[in-house]
């Protein structure tokens, strides 16, 4: 088709809609390599007249160079920018493409169908209203095709269109088309997707893409363009209960206090009664403010600023919500988690969670199961690695407002952030709150930590020794405790090896178990400090994140990190228990320093260089430090 014909095709479509009424459809395209995805997207851009003249020229030239006859264009060349970048090792998660027809504007999330597939598709699908799933008519419904449908449905896409492509290569066979459609519709019903639309296409020639194909007289459904131009864009959210995650408190002067955000569900108007969550305080809307004047009503999708008639405390991360159908509030949830980090997910490790505008620390507990995205089977798993999907409990350090993801993407979707690198390592979909912790109130005891410590005449603290195996932690810690005892002080030494004989004997040495090991010890240390004891902990504790978690559990100034700094070579020659030898021989797996990492502290309270100090001298230094910071009296 020449560009001239192309313009004509565009002109036969319905008359242009003015800018003030044109809507937007965001969709994702999914296909396996060579199904014709690039060709189809190229075709959409070309047929909508969205390509620049120089791009069309390049397209014509490239196609001719590739030995194609005049007028036969290879549209996959258009998107070749991506393959070049792939060769340069640049990761592309989603490529965004834009086109518009006289009726609508479109944003395509084009996800490369290779290695990082799940992560990429989840990212693209999270902002899509619809999904085009490509099928090679010769191959029918493949494992990948089901995977695409599963992820689209999981992320809440309600409109699936099946482009049964390469119909020319099966002689436009109607039976094959119908059977593909039926197989997929049955599968989609299992996913909870009510309707799918299947369209028989041939991407290179544009059959049933922009115009009805003469090759499919038996097909009476829409062309792909017709489908995309008319599919109902989400107005459902406007009918949903009112939700307004507060992004920013706008307070330019004493006279104005507004809450800025984007309406995530429903509508809002002056005099509406609302509830601020998680606090539960109620208020009345005074104004729906925009720079273009106050609105009579704000609807889902709009960015506005709300003011209240009453003085009510609201901060970033709160959700202003309908009073009739308020959002839920909890700190424990069941959620589906999609892992996106290079390091595996570690149950129990503290991560940051961002949901709406709320940033909360918390952790993911043991997995209930992992989902095999090809078979949809549930399998047992201890951790999730890159591109895995699983269901588990999310425990947050404070309560937040939320909805089930299926009800509202904005108040039910969250991201998981690594606390050290700050990378986004996961995405999650909340299902429901677990009531467990809510029903267990904290029991206040009459005798508190201060009283217990006073009875012992001391200030409690946690001396946390970290370092490689054989660094000298236990030896030094033991001398320190002997000195404390001699001073008449009450202490307790928690030693890694000893605890692993009892409390932690169910744990091994995988990263996940190491995290749980430290979590339990940190909790025990906290109880002991609460009992008024000077608590000495001697654990390898190889990860910064867990030492930070232990630090965060204690009161300010109570946690004293002592880095027993012994080079690996030195620790290995000491090898008091012969463990390094075994690890080198491969008899012990996951040994710190050999095949499992040790992350040294960045700012420990004390660093002890055991190559220049004897254990006694080291212990003296620790005692001296305790004196300096006032834990020990000046005797």
């Amino acid at each position: 088709m020449s560009p001239a014909q192309n313009t004509k095709a565009a002109a036969t479509r319905p008359a242009a809609i003015p800018d003030s009424q044109k809507t937007l459809l965001r969709f994702i395209t999914c296909g396996s390599v060579d199904d014709g995805k690039s060709t189809l997207i190229g075709r959409l851009l070309y047929d909508s007249g969205s390509l620049a003249d120089d791009q069309v020229e390049t397209l014509v030239n490239d196609s001719r160079k590739a030995g194609r006859p005049e007028g036969d264009l290879d549209f996959s060349y258009l998107l070749d920018g991506l393959s070049a970048e792939r060769e340069q090792g640049i990761t592309i998660d989603v490529a965004w493409r834009f086109f518009s027809t006289p009726k609508r504007s479109f944003i395509i999330a084009d996800t490369p169908g290779h290695e990082q597939y799940t992560r990429n598709m989840v990212t693209g699908a999270s902002v899509a209203d619809a999904a085009i799933i490509l099928i090679d008519a010769r191959k029918g419904v493949l494992v990948q095709t089901r995977r695409h449908g599963y992820i689209a449905a999981l992320l809440g896409i309600k409109h699936l269109v099946l482009a049964v492509n390469k119909m020319d290569l099966i002689g436009w066979n109607r039976e094959t088309f119908e059977s593909i459609r039926e197989v997929y519709a049955a599968f989609a019903r299992k996913l909870g997707v009510e309707t799918i639309t299947a369209i028989p296409t041939a991407a290179p020639t544009g059959d049933n893409v922009a115009s009805k194909s003469v090759n499919t007289p038996w097909y009476s459904g829409p062309t792909l363009f017709e489908y995309l131009e008319t599919v109902q864009v989400e107005t459902d959210l406007q009918a949903a209960p009112f939700r307004f995650p507060v992004q920013w408190v706008n307070r330019p002067s004493q006279d104005f206090r507004g809450f800025a955000g984007q309406i995530a569900g429903g509508t809002v108007k002056p005099d509406d009664r609302v509830r601020v969550l998680p606090s539960g305080r109620e208020a009345t809307i005074a104004r729906v403010v925009t720079k273009d004047g106050d609105l009579d009503a704000g609807v889902a999708g709009q960015s506005v600023t709300l003011t209240f008639k009453e003085e009510v405390d609201v901060s970033r991360g709160d959700v202003i919500s309908s009073i009739v159908h308020p959002a839920g509030v909890s700190d424990q949830f069941e959620a589906t988690v999609i892992w996106m980090g290079d390091q595996p997910m570690l149950p129990g490790r503290p991560y940051m969670f961002k949901i709406g505008a709320a940033m909360v620390s918390g952790s993911l507990a043991q997995l209930k199961y992992q989902v095999n995205i090809d078979t949809l089977e549930h399998t047992a798993a201890r951790t999730l690695t890159l591109n895995d999907i699983g269901v588990c409990t999310v425990s947050l350090d404070r309560r937040i407002a939320f909805d089930a993801y299926a009800e509202n993407r904005d108040t039910g979707g969250f991201i998981v952030i690594d606390r050290i690198s700050n990378a986004t390592v996961g995405a999650g979909l909340l299902h429901f709150a677990l009531r467990r912790s809510q029903n267990i109130a904290w029991q206040t005891t009459s005798i508190d930590k201060k009283v217990r410590a006073a009875a012992k005449g001391q200030s409690p603290c946690v001396l946390w020794f970290t370092g490689l195996s054989g660094a000298g932690k236990s030896t030094i810690a033991n001398i320190v405790e002997t000195r404390l005892h001699a001073l008449g002080l009450h202490s307790y030494l928690l030693d890694g090896d000893n605890i692993r004989h009892g409390l932690n004997k169910d744990l091994g040495f995988t990263p996940a178990d190491r995290v749980e090991n430290i979590r339990r010890v940190a909790e025990v240390a906290k109880l002991m400090a609460d009992a008024g004891l000077i608590t000495v902990v001697a654990f390898i504790s190889p990860y910064r994140a867990e030492r930070q978690m232990a630090r965060d559990l204690m009161e300010k100034g109570e946690f004293i990190e002592v880095y027993v700094d012994t080079p690996l070579g030195v620790a290995e020659t000491r090898d008091p228990k012969g463990l390094y030898k075994k690890a080198r021989a491969g008899e012990i797996k996951n040994f710190t320093g050999i095949d499992s990492p040790y992350e040294p502290p960045e700012h420990p309270e004390m660093r002890i260089d055991t190559t220049s100090l004897t254990p006694e001298q080291a212990a003296d230094r620790v005692i001296e430090h305790l004196r300096q910071i006032g834990i020990l009296g000046g005797q």
């Binding site: 620049a52 090792g89 800025a260 955000g261």
Partner: protein, 300 residues
């Protein structure tokens, strides 16, 4: 219920992004390049924080080679809107008399733009820099994130960028790191013009066709904006009906012949004849891969 329009959705998204920046950044700044994209971005920012003033300053990196009309427009805009506008020029480059005619586009851009930008960012400790780039500008921008992370030396590590889900952006950074954010990522050139028309946003008059003095050089029409323009033997200045699709340093910005003297004219021109926007940028002609390189080096 009626669905929001295309432009309403883009507007709401950009405002949301700007508010996330204001809420999470320690020291944000908005790059103001005086062009149409900056005009739209500024307009959106004013909406995002109304009735408060902008919670961040604007920064213009002045290479001293911008069109004169741009500078006039910049100063008038800052005055009328009461903006906190910072202007930075690389003092060493200025002292050495660096310019595109004498030192070539590559050196000029590196010293007066890239280095100057780094100086301004480092001197002020800005951690979050708002820019007006769009994904449709160029093929290689299609995969760009809205939030782009830079090391303390402003380097962009393509392997270390974050997935962006829903509208839940992760803006956490470690000390010294910085973020570039592009609130107009999902806008196309036509969207920008349609929005300018819908909202009545003022733009530099250079975008509208007018008789201007130009010189044909290297396949481009370069406007003789001042006396620093040296004419090569055989070159002559002609008055032609031209306009600009992008604005930058005048010796590096090609004009296009056009009759589009109004917003309707510009939009109609873009809807019918379509050549890509960046063909008028002399700097891009070194190829798309060089764009990637420039970005890794810290070019915006």
């Amino acid at each position: 219920m009626t669905a929001l329009t295309h432009l309403q959705r883009l507007e709401a998204e950009s405002i949301h992004i700007l508010r996330e920046v204001a809420a999470e950044a320690k020291k944000p700044v908005m790059m103001y390049s005086i062009g149409k994209d900056s005009a739209v971005m500024l307009h959106l920012a004013l909406k995002a924080f109304h009735p408060a003033k902008l919670p961040f300053p604007l920064l213009h990196v002045d290479t001293t080679w911008k069109f004169r009309e741009m500078i006039t427009f910049r100063d008038a805009t800052a005055r009328e809107l009461g903006l906190d506008l910072m202007v930075h020029t690389n003092p060493e480059g200025l002292a050495q008399g660096i310019g595109p005619f004498t030192h070539g586009s590559e050196v000029h851009t590196d010293v007066m733009k890239t280095q100057a930008l780094k100086q301004a960012l480092d001197a002020n400790g800005f951690d979050l820099i708002i820019g007006g780039a769009r994904r449709d500008e160029e093929k290689s921008r299609a995969k760009e994130r809205i939030f782009s992370f830079r090391t303390p030396t402003h380097h962009w590590n393509p392997k270390d960028q974050r997935p962006e889900l829903w509208r839940t952006y992760n803006l956490r950074i470690n000390a010294g790191e910085s973020v570039r954010v592009f609130p107009l990522s999902n806008w196309t050139e036509l969207d920008v013009w349609r929005y300018i028309r819908l909202e009545g946003i003022p733009v530099v008059p250079l975008y509208f066709a007018k008789e201007r003095p130009v010189v044909a050089r290297g396949g481009q029409l370069i406007m003789k904006d001042d006396d620093r323009f040296p004419l090569a033997p055989g070159e002559k200045v002609e008055m032609m009906m031209v306009r600009f699709r992008t604005l930058g340093c005048y010796p590096l910005t090609g004009a296009v012949e056009s009759d589009a003297a109004t917003l309707d004219g510009i939009i109609e021109e873009l809807e019918t004849s379509r050549s890509s926007e960046r063909t008028g940028r002399v700097i891009d002609h070194d190829g798309a891969a060089s764009m990637e390189r420039k970005k890794q080096e810290g070019y915006f």
